[in-house]
Symmetry: C2
Subunit: 454 residues, 2 copies
C-alpha cells in the first residue's frame, strides 16, 4: 500500500520512518499515544477519495488530522493506521463579502480565517483556545467552541456548507450559500462534530458577520463564588447577553497572577471577565449596567478597560489561565463538562468537593456564560496511585454534571477520553441510534475506528 500511496501523492507526501511518525502519535490530550503506520498529505478531495479506496482494499484504518491540538484524543492513531493530515490543503478559496461567506480548505489555520475576515470588516466569531495553530477542518470535525459561545454560538453556527469524502470514496457537497435551505435532511450538521468518524471534510463554507463596531471589557473579582454566580444570573435577568463571560477560581487566579502579573487581588475566590460588543452606545450602556450589577453583588474590584490595549491586558488574565496552570505540575488534565448555566455554581462546588475527597489539586476556570467548565487536574502521570484517584475524580465530575442536566463534553469532543461515559449521557436508544448511523456511513469501520464509541 505504501508504494501505491507514494505513487499517488509523491514520495514527499508519505512519511514512514519512525522519527517522522512520532509527532503524529499523539495530540493535545495527556497520556495518550500510538505510532501510526504512515502519514500522508493529500492535496484535494480526489486524492483523499483514492486514499480511502486503497485503505479499504488493505483494511487499513484512516485517522484524519489537522494540527493535532485536540483535547480528547480524537486524532490519536490506532495500531497500523494511516494518518491523513490535511495541513497541505491550506488555501482560502473565496471570500464573498456580498453573501458574507468564506470558502476554505480544511488545513487553513483558524486564526487566518479570523484575520482574512477582519481585514474586510467582517467577523468570524468562534475562537477556540488553540486558534493560532488549530485548523478549521479540525474545528468543524470537533465543533469547537471558544470564549464567545453565549452570544455567538460555536463553530457549528458558522458552517453553511461542507464538501465531504465518504468512506466509500464518494464526494458529497452538503449545504450552500443560501441563508435558508430545507431541501432534504440536514447532513451537514451530522458531519460537524463527528470527529473524523463519518467522513473526511475537504472544503468548508463559513458564514461571517459584520464586525461589531465597539467592545467593552470588564474584569470583576469576588470574595465569594456565589456572588460571582449571582452577578451572572443578574446580567442574564437584565436581558444582557455578553459576548464573553469567563470565570476563574481561586487556584487559577493565583497561578495567573504568579505567571502574568496582572494585579489580581490575592483574596479573590472568583474572577469574571466580561465583554460586551456591538453598537458603541449599546456596548457602553451594557458595560455600565454590568458594572453596577457586579458592585451591587459586592464585587471586591471592578475594572473597566478604557481602550483596546487595556482590554487586551484584562483578557490576558483569562487567556493565560491554561498556560499558567500547566506550569505547576508535570501533567495537566483539562476537563470539559458543561451544565445549564443556572447550575454552574452547584457544579463548581461539586468539583471542589470531589477534589477534597480525593486529595487532588483541581483548578476550575471556564465559560460561565455557557455553563462550560474546565476543571483542570494538576497531577503527574508517572504517579500511578494519584492517577488512580484522578480517574475516580473524573468519573464523579461526569456524574455530577449529568445529574445537573449537563453534558460530558462541551467543546473538546468524546474521542477516546470521554468514550466510557457517552452511553450514560445519551441513554440506550440514542446511543444505539448513533451507532446505527456510524455503521450506515462507515460499514467497514475504516474512519477513526474506536473513537466516540467502540
Amino acid at each position: 500500500m505504501l508504494a501505491e500511496l507514494q505513487q499517488l501523492l509523491g514520495p514527499e507526501n508519505v512519511l514512514t520512518s519512525r522519527e517522522d511518525l512520532i509527532p503524529y502519535a499523539f495530540d493535545g490530550t495527556a497520556a495518550l499515544k500510538q505510532l501510526p503506520r504512515a502519514v500522508v498529505f493529500p492535496r484535494d478531495a480526489a486524492q483523499i477519495s483514492a486514499i480511502l479506496k486503497l485503505a479499504r482494499a488493505h483494511r487499513t484504518p484512516v485517522i484524519t488530522r489537522g494540527s493535532g491540538t485536540g483535547l480528547s484524543g480524537g486524532s490519536v492513531p490506532v495500531e497500523n493506521a494511516l494518518v491523513l493530515c490535511v495541513l497541505k490543503m491550506d488555501r482560502i478559496l473565496e471570500l464573498d463579502p456580498r453573501n458574507l461567506t468564506l470558502l476554505a480548505e480544511p488545513g487553513v489555520i483558524t486564526q487566518k480565517i479570523f484575520e482574512t475576515a477582519d481585514a474586510v470588516g467582517l467577523f468570524y466569531p468562534p475562537d477556540p483556545g488553540s486558534m493560532k495553530i488549530s485548523t478549521i477542518g479540525g474545528n468543524v470535525a470537533e465543533n469547537s467552541g471558544g470564549l464567545r459561545g453565549l452570544k455567538y454560538g460555536v463553530t457549528r453556527d458558522y458552517v453553511m456548507g461542507l464538501e465531504v469524502v465518504l468512506a466509500d470514496g464518494s464526494v458529497c457537497w452538503l449545504g450552500n450559500k443560501c441563508v435558508k435551505d430545507v431541501a432534504g435532511y440536514n447532513l451537514r450538521d451530522l458531519f460537524i462534530g463527528s470527529e473524523g468518524t463519518l467522513g473526511i471534510i475537504t472544503k468548508v463554507l463559513l458564514k461571517l458577520l459584520p464586525k461589531p463596531a465597539a467592545r467593552q471589557t470588564l474584569l470583576a473579582t469576588f470574595s465569594q463564588m456565589d456572588a460571582a454566580a449571582e452577578t451572572v444570573s443578574a446580567i442574564i435577568a437584565a436581558k444582557i447577553i455578553p459576548c464573553t463571560l469567563e470565570f476563574l477560581d481561586r487556584t487559577t487566579i493565583a497561578c495567573v497572577e504568579a505567571y502574568a502579573k496582572v494585579g489580581l487581588p490575592n483574596d479573590a475566590e472568583a474572577l469574571l471577565l466580561i465583554e460586551t460588543d456591538g453598537h458603541p452606545a449599546a456596548a457602553a450602556d451594557e458595560a455600565t449596567r454590568i458594572e453596577d450589577l457586579a458592585r451591587s453583588q459586592g464585587a471586591l474590584q471592578v475594572r473597566r478597560a478604557r481602550d483596546a490595549a487595556e482590554s487586551a491586558q484584562l483578557a490576558l488574565a483569562r487567556r493565560s489561565a491554561f498556560s499558567a496552570l500547566a506550569r505547576r505540575k508535570p501533567t495537566t488534565i483539562l476537563e470539559d463538562v458543561t451544565v445549564p448555566r443556572s447550575e454552574l455554581a452547584k457544579m463548581i462546588r461539586s468539583v471542589q468537593h470531589i477534589a477534597a475527597k480525593h486529595t487532588l489539586d483541581i483548578a476550575v476556570f471556564g465559560h460561565f456564560g455557557d455553563g462550560n467548565l474546565h476543571p483542570t487536574i494538576l497531577t503527574d502521570e508517572r504517579n500511578t496511585a494519584e492517577m488512580e484517584r484522578v480517574h475516580h475524580a473524573i468519573a464523579e465530575i461526569v456524574d455530577a454534571a449529568l445529574a445537573l442536566g449537563g453534558t460530558i463534553t462541551g467543546e473538546h469532543g468524546v474521542g477516546l477520553a470521554k468514550k466510557p461515559f457517552l452511553k450514560q449521557q445519551l441513554g440506550e436508544s440514542s446511543h444505539a441510534l448513533l451507532k446505527a448511523i456510524k455503521h450506515t456511513l462507515d460499514p467497514d469501520a475504516l474512519l477513526n475506528p474506536g473513537k466516540i464509541f467502540d
Copy 2:
C-alpha cells in the same frame, strides 16, 4: 387495528368516518389530497410509541400532522394511512428564564410560544407566515423560516433539544439545556426539517433571546427593481444586518394596495420593507443609515414609522401579500426557491422572463435579505392547458435557482411538491446518502412514505 387504537386512545381520539377524515386529506398546498384511513390524537410519547408498534404490525403508513398549514404537501396522506395528529399535545411544559429556554409539546401553536416568551421579556424569533395557526412541532419538522431569517436565522437555530419517537417505537432524547454540547453526533439537527419521515417529535426544547429593546420600521419604494437590489447590497456592505428585509414586486404591490389600501405609489416596480432592532441607539442609527442609502439609490419614497402603530401599518403591506394575491385567481401556487442574496435580482428577472414566456401571471415577493423568493403563480387548477404551462414554468424556475447556486426550497420543505427536483440539487452521492439514512431509521418505510424522495 382500529379497535386496538380505540382501546389505546379512547374512541373520542380515533376518527374514522368520511366527514371527519376530509379535513385531514389535504394541507396548505394547492391541488394535493388523499383521504386517510383514520386519524388519531395521542397525548404523549408512550401512546405514540404504542401507535407505531401497531402500525408496524399492520404495515400501515403513519403521517404526522399538526395544523396542516404546510406548503409542500408534507402532511398529505397516502392511501390507507393513519394520520397522527399532535394537536392535543399542546402544553407548554416549562419556561426557564435563567437558562433562556422553553419546553413545549409539539401541538403548541407557534404564536403561543412567541407570546409566552414575550410576556416575560423574552423573544422567540422564528415567525413563519402561518404562525397564528401552525404548530411548533410542524415548524421543527419543516424547519420553518419567516421574516427574520437574515439576522435571527430559522427554526433550527432555536431548537436545543428534541424528544423523538423512532419507527421502532423507541424514545430518544436528543440535546439538552447546555449552550455547548459535543457529546456524540448531532442527531437533533437530522430530525429538524426531516418532514415526519424519520421519527415523530414529541417534545421541543427551544432557545429564547432577550427581547430587543427597540425596533425601527422603514418602507421604501423604487421605480426600478435594480435600485432596490442595489439598496440591499449597500445595506449589507455598510455592515448592517436588518432583522427584516422584505421585497414585493409590481404585481404584488398593486394587489396589496387594492386589498389593504396602505397608500403605495402605483408606479413602483419594487418595495422594500426593512426593520432593524436592538438597542434604541443602534436601531435608530441603522434606520437613518438605511434611509440615506435608499434615497441615494433614488427611492421613490421612504417612509419611516414613528411609533409601533405606524410600524404595524407599514408591515401590513408585506404581511398581507399572500392574501392579497390569493384573491385574484382560484388557485395560488406559492413557490419557494432561494438563491444566495447576491443573485436575487438575477433570479427575479428570470422569473419575470419565465412568466412572459409561458404567458402566466406570476407575482414575486419574499425575503430579500435571505435570498428567499416566493414566486406566486396565480392560476386555476381546472384549466388543464394553463396548468401544463405552470408545471413547465416551475421546472424552469427551479433550474434557474439551481444555476445561481440556490435551493429548490428555502422554507416550505420538499414534501411532494419538490420531490422531483431534489436529486438535481443534491447530486447523486448526497441523494444516495439521504436515502441510506432514511432506510436506517425507517427500514419498513412506515413514516410519511413517499415524501422527500421515493
